[in-house]
Structure formats: C-alpha cells, structure tokens
C-alpha cells in the first residue's frame, strides 16, 4: 500500500499531552507536511506544556514560547528578521495557537500580521475552550456547551452564543489562503499544509482538535467524533484560495447526519433540551447552506 502521509517525524515520543488529544495529532501531521525547515511560535495554550519541561522538547524545530496574545506579532518579527538576514528562503514561519489564543486574546496581533502580508502560516488547533487552564469558555466554544465558566446547574447556564467564525474573519482579510482541517482527515490536512507552505504570503489554517478531557468523551473516540463533526456539517472541510471557495469534503443531503449523535456522544452537551438542540441544528444547517452558496457564487471556475 502506498503511504500518502510522510514518514518523517518531527514530533518525537515523550510529549505531555492527555490521552486522545486532538491537538497532538494535529501538530504531528502539520510538521510531517512542513518538514524540518520550520520555525514556530507557540503562545500560552496546551502546547506550551506538551513539548516538555526544560531542557527537553519533543519538537525537532526551532521554537519560541511567546505571550498569550503575541503569536501574530512574534511570527511577524521572525519573518522580518529572517528576511533581514537573507535567510527566509525555504523557511516556513508558523504560529501555532489554541482557540483562545487565536479568536480571543490573540485576534488583534493575528489580524495585524495577516493584514501586513507577512509570509507566515498561522495554525489554530481548536479544542473549543481554554483547556490548558481547565476548560473555561472561549469565543470558539459552541453554543450549548458546558465549561467551567458556563456551568450547567439548575439554571442551564451553558454557553449562550454561537462560536465565532474565525475562518471567515481571516478570509475577509483578503489573504491568499484560509482553510479548515480536521485530525480525522490527515491526508486533507497534509495537502493543505503543503499548499500553505508553497504560497508566499499569510495563510490561515483552522484545525478541529477534540479534547476528551474537556468535552467529556472517551479518549479513543477522538477520530470518530471528528469525523462525525464533519459528516454532520458542524465542522465542514473547506478552503478559500485567493477568494475562491471550495468544499473539500462534500456532504450530500441524504448522507448529512443530524447533530444529535454528535451532541449525545459528549458529556459537555449532556443536559441540552430538545428546543436548544433544534436551534443548534438550525444554525448548523443555515451555516452549511451559507457555505454552499459561497462556493456557488465564489467557487473555482
């Protein structure tokens, strides 16, 4: 059988992630695609801990740990310095951050970095809450989810608002490339990462990276759950290349799964009532239609 995933490992054994961590798989695949000539900035997030305690690191690339809100600025500085030193050719500069570090506290620096047009690749591994600090809601947490700051007691105080759509925000910056990817579809992820590497200019990748600890599901279900998220159109796989939309994993109407299976497989949605589930389903359906319309209107010829 022909292997489509590169054999090279730049993430070695001995990492400190939880069992079943989607974010760890995401890093492993990304580095397989980008190769060793990669320089990375990581802010506060699970991945500030996962590589290991000083002086050990499971990542075989140059790496700077940066302040929570600073990833976009850090990779801008790296890229500028490499250019100034005449060392930029062949080197991929990557910002690797969690959802909180991307959609909340880091959004300003990220927006600035891509607007300035640096040749940087920003990758968000999205586990839909502040997981490293112990499961607090972020603006990437979906509506209806339990977190430690949206606890579900008698008052059903789950997250009240929808997830921020950062991929569209990035696409609206008119950057060369913005895409989603999922740990359940490694070949798609690797293909997109290689595409980013070849594009000169700012690119954004948003990786669906489930967290068994925070979402309350058995660790062996990470891939199954990720696939379900895409098959029920909660997390569609798509890309926007120079403004052109393309769905990478089309879900035919008759094959589109209801979100109830996805919700029921995770403890964080355990107490949702029928009415809320109906409203969540409607939101997913509306967003899926919206995305398909974009492909229709702004798809590749």
């Amino acid at each position: 059988m022909k292997l489509t995933i590169p054999e090279q490992e730049l993430m070695e054994k001995g990492h400190m992630a939880c069992l079943g961590c989607g974010g760890s798989l995401a890093m492993r695949y990304l580095l397989k695609a980008l190769g060793k000539d990669t320089m990375m900035a990581i802010p506060a997030c699970c991945w500030a801990v996962i590589p290991g305690v000083f002086p050990y690191s499971c990542l075989e690339i140059p790496l700077q740990y940066v302040a929570f809100e600073a990833t976009g600025a850090a990779i801008s500085g790296m890229e500028a310095a490499l250019k100034a030193k005449g060392k930029k050719d062949g080197v991929t500069v990557v910002g690797w951050a969690g959802d909180g570090g991307t959609v909340d506290i880091g959004i300003q620096a990220l927006s600035g970095a891509v607007e300035r047009g640096h040749d940087v690749k920003y990758v968000c591994y999205d586990n839909e809450a502040y997981m490293n600090t112990g499961i607090q809601r972020s603006s990437a947490t979906p509506k209806g989810a339990w977190t430690t700051t949206t606890p579900v007691g008698n008052t059903r105080f789950w997250k009240q608002t929808n997830k921020k759509n950062i991929v569209e925000i990035m696409a609206a910056h008119d950057i060369p490339y913005a895409c989603t990817a999922s740990v359940a579809y490694p070949e798609d992820l690797i293909k997109k990462a290689k595409k980013m590497k070849d594009i000169k200019g700012p690119c954004y990748m948003h990786i669906y990276a489930p967290c068994p600890t925070g979402w309350k599901y058995p660790p062996e279900k990470t891939i199954e759950l990720s696939r379900l998220a895409t098959e029920s159109c909660i997390f569609p796989l798509y890309e926007v290349t120079y403004g052109k939309y393309k769905i990478n994993k089309d879900i035919k109407d008759e094959k589109k799964k209801p979100i109830i299976d996805y919700l029921r497989s995770q403890g964080r949605f355990r107490k949702l009532d029928e009415e809320t589930i109906r409203s969540l389903q409607k939101h997913v359906d509306d967003e899926w239609i919206k995305l398909k319309k974009k492909v229709e209107c702004f798809g590749e010829e």
């Binding site: 590589p51 700077q64 740990y65 302040a67 600025a73 850090a74 500085g77 500028a80 490499l82 600035g112």
Partner: protein, 389 residues
C-alpha cells in the same frame, strides 16, 4: 557631518547608524517623528531595514523580541501609554536575553490626557530587567544609542536597553548634531551574532516550562548578574566611545561643578540643562552648589552615589515622577544607596514637572534655597514644589 536634528530625528538617525536590521514600532505622540523619519530614510533609499509597522505597542515589542531571537539587531520607540502596553513583553525581552534598544519619550500618563514631559512611564518599568538611560541633549541621544547597542549586545550582558527623552523638551527641540561617520560606527559596534538563536539548522526551544526545583530561579539570578556586569561595560564602552568619537557623558553620573560642593542637586533628563544655569549663577554668588545628572537609572549607580556623598552636605533629589504611596523613585533609591555609610549627607526629595509643568529657573532656585536653609541634618524632607492651591 553636522545636521540640525530634534531628539526624535537623532533617534531615527541613530537607528540607521547602528544599522538596525529590524524595526517594529507603532506611532504615539510625541514619538511619531521617529517612525516618520525612519520611514522617510527608507523611502529615500538611505536606510535598508525591515520596518514592521505593527498594530500596537504590545506587538511592537513582541515582534522585536522574536526578531532579536532570530539574530537581528532590533530597534523600537514608544512613549507613555505605549510603554505601559508593552509592559508584559518588556519582562519577556529581558528574560529572553534579547538586546533590543528602545527609545522612550517620557510623557504623562492618562487620565487626564497629557502628552507632556513626565518620567512616570519609564520609572514604572524599573523592575522589567531593562537598562535605563536618560538623555539631556540631541547629541547625547544619538551617541547613547550607539553606546547602548555595544553594551546590550555584549555576551556578558545581553539585556535590553531603554533610552528616555523628555517629551517635547528634548523630542521636539532641535540642535546641531554631529553625525559620526558610518565606517567609524561600524568598526565600533561590529555585527550582532548571538550564540543562541532561532535557527532551522540548529533547532532549540526558547522559554520552555521550568519547574520550581529546576532553573527558573537561576535564570533570574543570571539576569541580576548581567545587570551587574553591565556596570563595568557601560563605563568601558563610554571610555572607548570617547576615544573614537571624542565625546563622553560622565557614565552613570554626569557631574557638573560638584568639586567642593556643599549642595548637589540630582536630576535626570532635560531639566538638567536648567539646573546647570542655576548652578552657574549660584557659584557666581559664591555658593557651593553642583549638579549630578542621573544618566543611568538601571543598573543603579550605588558606588557613584556613595563616592559623591562623601564630600557633600546635602543632596537635593528632583523626581519628575511619583510612586504613589511612597515618594519619588530617585529619592528613595539614593537614600537606600547611602544608608549604610557612616557619615552620610542629608538627602532631600522634591517632586517637580509632573505632566509637563515647566521646571523653571525659579523652581530650581526655590529648591536650592530650601536646601541652603536646612540646618537640622536629621530632618526628613520631601515635598511637591509649586502646587497650586
């Protein structure tokens, strides 16, 4: 080559002379002329650098730290609110051992809005692990920038350095400035090539988690040690600078007519020029008054103050800042430096010039007069000068 330059333009020319490879900066009054001048120099093809026009001061400093870790000579400039927004990354810069040089225009902090001279912004960054220099003239700004890169990039120092200029009084005051030959500056500074850097051919991590039983404690000690090493380096670099460029500024304490002085005023920044005039007038009248201009606040010149204090009866300290809850920082620290001396002079503290309030000759004479009237040398003295009723 001589040119008429403002303090801001001197800083911009300084960044070009040191051949800063990466500049990341965000505009703020009264620093704007620095970034504008740099942009002009680049646009005219005179200055080749990577100028990252960031979206905030926080990003300016974060980008500077990463650029420096890649091995680029890095410059930035800011003022007041901008410096405060950088605060988190100021610590990051020193703990990453990145020898960034930054010009800060000392300006009052809001609210209420003020864009005028006040040193509270930089004094509030005292504990960030940055060296701090305060300048009096445009020439000194340019020369100190060259000196600072030499000190900061030394392998026994590797700490960032901040150069402060009073808002408008220096940033917007134009003077004739001698711009040294590029070749001389190149020879003096050399290139920046740190031993440890972000490099795909030699991958390593910067800033990994360190447990309490490991090395965090020692990393912090190393910063303290580097600050001590900087003391000798600052003196050495200024001596070498004088040999090559023929100018010097007194190292830590710029002493003016302190020989045989009974009363010495200590101040930093632009008001020192006014004090020089007051000192001359007092000396003409036969009063033994001098000025010790505090040029370096971090590392703090403990030994220099002890030496000065040996032959002086009263030290009057002028703070253009205030640490709410306890005095002005210069006053407190000078007293602390002298505390263990057997025969120490009386130290008196004065707050002046907050929010750009003019520090006039009359203000200086009032302070000198207050010092001269002091008879009880055990008296504790601290006051705000010129408060309105």
């Amino acid at each position: 080559m001589k040119k008429v330059l403002s303090g801001n333009s001197a800083a911009a020319y300084g960044s070009m002379l040191v051949r800063a490879e990466v500049i990341s900066a965000y505009p703020i009054t009264p620093q704007t002329k620095i970034v504008e001048k740099i942009a002009d120099l680049i646009a005219n093809g005179e200055f080749k650098t990577e100028f990252v026009k960031v979206e905030s001061e926080h990003s300016a400093m974060a980008a500077a730290v990463s650029a420096s870790l890649v091995g680029a000579r890095t410059f930035t400039a800011t003022s007041a609110q901008g410096l405060l927004l950088m605060h988190e990354i100021l610590h990051w810069a020193s703990a990453s051992r990145t020898p960034i040089v930054m010009v800060n225009i000392n300006r009052g902090l809001a609210p209420p809005w003020s864009v005028w001279a006040d040193q509270t912004d930089s004094i509030a960054q005292r504990d960030t692990g940055w060296m701090q220099f305060y300048c009096e003239s445009c020439q000194e700004v340019l020369d100190t920038m060259i000196q600072l890169y030499k000190v900061a990039e030394d392998k026994d120092v590797l700490l960032p350095a901040m150069l402060s200029e009073d808002a408008f009084l220096l940033s917007h005051t134009s003077e004739i400035v001698d711009i040294p030959d590029q070749e001389k500056v190149d020879d003096f500074l050399g290139t920046f090539d740190p031993e440890y850097k972000l490099d795909v051919n030699r991958p390593m991590s910067f800033g990994s988690l360190s447990m309490p039983h490991q090395y965090y404690y020692e990393f912090r000690y190393k910063i303290a040690e580097a600050m001590e090493n900087a003391k000798n380096k600052i003196i050495e670099v200024e001596r070498d600078f004088e040999k090559v460029f023929g100018r010097s500024y007194g190292g830590f304490l710029d002493l003016y007519r302190c020989d045989g002085a009974d009363i010495v005023l200590v101040a930093a920044g632009s008001m020192s020029s006014t004090i020089r005039i007051a000192v001359d007038e007092m000396r003409d009248k036969g009063h033994k008054v001098g000025l010790a201009r505090l040029r370096v606040f971090r590392p703090f010149p403990v030994e220099e103050f002890k030496k000065l204090a040996k032959d002086v009866k009263i030290i009057g300290v002028l703070d253009r800042s205030f640490c709410f809850g306890y005095e002005g920082a210069f006053f407190t620290e000078i007293k602390s430096a002298l505390y263990n001396m057997d025969d120490r002079p009386l130290v008196k503290g004065y707050v002046v010039g907050i929010g750009g309030r003019d520090v006039t000759l009359d203000v200086i004479f009032e302070i000198i007069d207050d010092c001269m009237k002091t008879t009880d040398t055990k008296e504790e003295s601290f006051k705000w000068i010129g408060l309105k009723g």
